[in-house]
């Protein structure tokens, strides 16, 4: 009976001390993405001087931004990728010191953005197009103190 009571007390203590509230558990992986990637295969139909804006929009959708550049119009498609990792190395202390369990969060992340840019002339024909890949700069970081 004594052993059972101790076992119940242990479960109760585990339950109460491991309640996470607003914070997450001992480790957390989070990711946020804005829109979807456009690959080089998706844009092979574009022929500079022949393809117009209607054809591009029909296949790729509307761009995220339109910019002015001298006598041409630039449209841009964005794909943003953000990654974040956090580990609470003090999480286990709550089982040893229920009254005061200090948090020790280490982690990090990053945000990268791919851009696909299409430039049009005055007749809305594609003048040129280009990619910029930066989404790989987002990564889950376990150790924030590296150079």
């Amino acid at each position: 009976m004594m052993l059972r009571n101790r076992f119940i007390c242990l479960i109760l203590a585990l339950t109460l001390t491991s309640l996470t509230g607003c914070s997450q558990g001992p480790v957390t992986w989070r990711r946020v993405t804005l829109n979807q990637t456009i690959s080089t295969e998706d844009v092979i139909f574009i022929v500079p001087g022949k393809t117009d804006i209607s054809a591009v929009v029909e296949r790729l959708g509307a761009p995220n931004d339109i910019l002015s550049s001298k006598n041409e119009i630039v449209t841009r498609y964005y794909f943003t990728d953000g990654k974040y990792f956090k580990a609470n190395y003090g999480w286990g202390f709550r089982f040893l010191i229920p009254v005061f369990a200090p948090d020790l969060d280490l982690g990090g992340g990053g945000i990268g953005r791919d851009v696909f840019q299409v430039t049009y002339d005055d007749h809305w024909l594609v003048r040129d197009h280009a990619f910029a890949f930066h989404s790989r700069s987002s990564e889950f970081l376990a150790w924030p103190f590296r150079d």
Binding site: T15, L19, P26, V32, Q36, V57, K70
Partner: protein
């Protein structure tokens, strides 16, 4: 007694393994029916504003005025220690010529539907 212990263990698991699915949006979704009423070479700035409302942004590009409307849709999922938030934007650009008449209408959905996901990694699916 065994059932109490088992019940407490299950309760412990339920309390500590939460999940959440949340949805949100920014801006009003513009109907394709409204957009279809805008005609190139005919509709004016006032016509566009009457149908779509005031634009979220006005851009000046190569002597043209551009009305920019946008809408964001967000789906977020959290399961255990994993969380993923997907955001999708829908943009509409109405481009006017110097006379203030619609020259071009740039509108179209981006590829793929917005999904609820919680798995934050590319692997093993890619």
């Amino acid at each position: 007694m065994k059932s109490i212990i088992l019940g407490m263990l299950i309760l412990n698991l339920l309390i500590n393994t939460g999940c959440a699915f949340i949805r949100g949006n920014y801006g009003e979704e513009l109907g394709q029916g409204d957009i279809a009423t805008i005609q190139k070479g005919i509709s004016t700035r006032a016509d566009v504003a009457a149908v779509l409302g005031a634009p979220d942004r006005i851009i000046e590009a190569s002597g043209r005025e551009i009305f920019h409307y946008f809408h964001y849709d967000v789906k977020s999922g959290s399961v255990f220690i994993f969380s993923r938030t997907n955001i999708k934007s829908d943009d509409i650009f109405v481009i006017f010529n110097e006379a203030g008449v619609v020259e071009e209408l740039v509108s179209g959905k981006r590829k793929g539907p917005l999904e609820f996901q919680f798995w934050p990694f590319d692997w093993p699916f890619h």
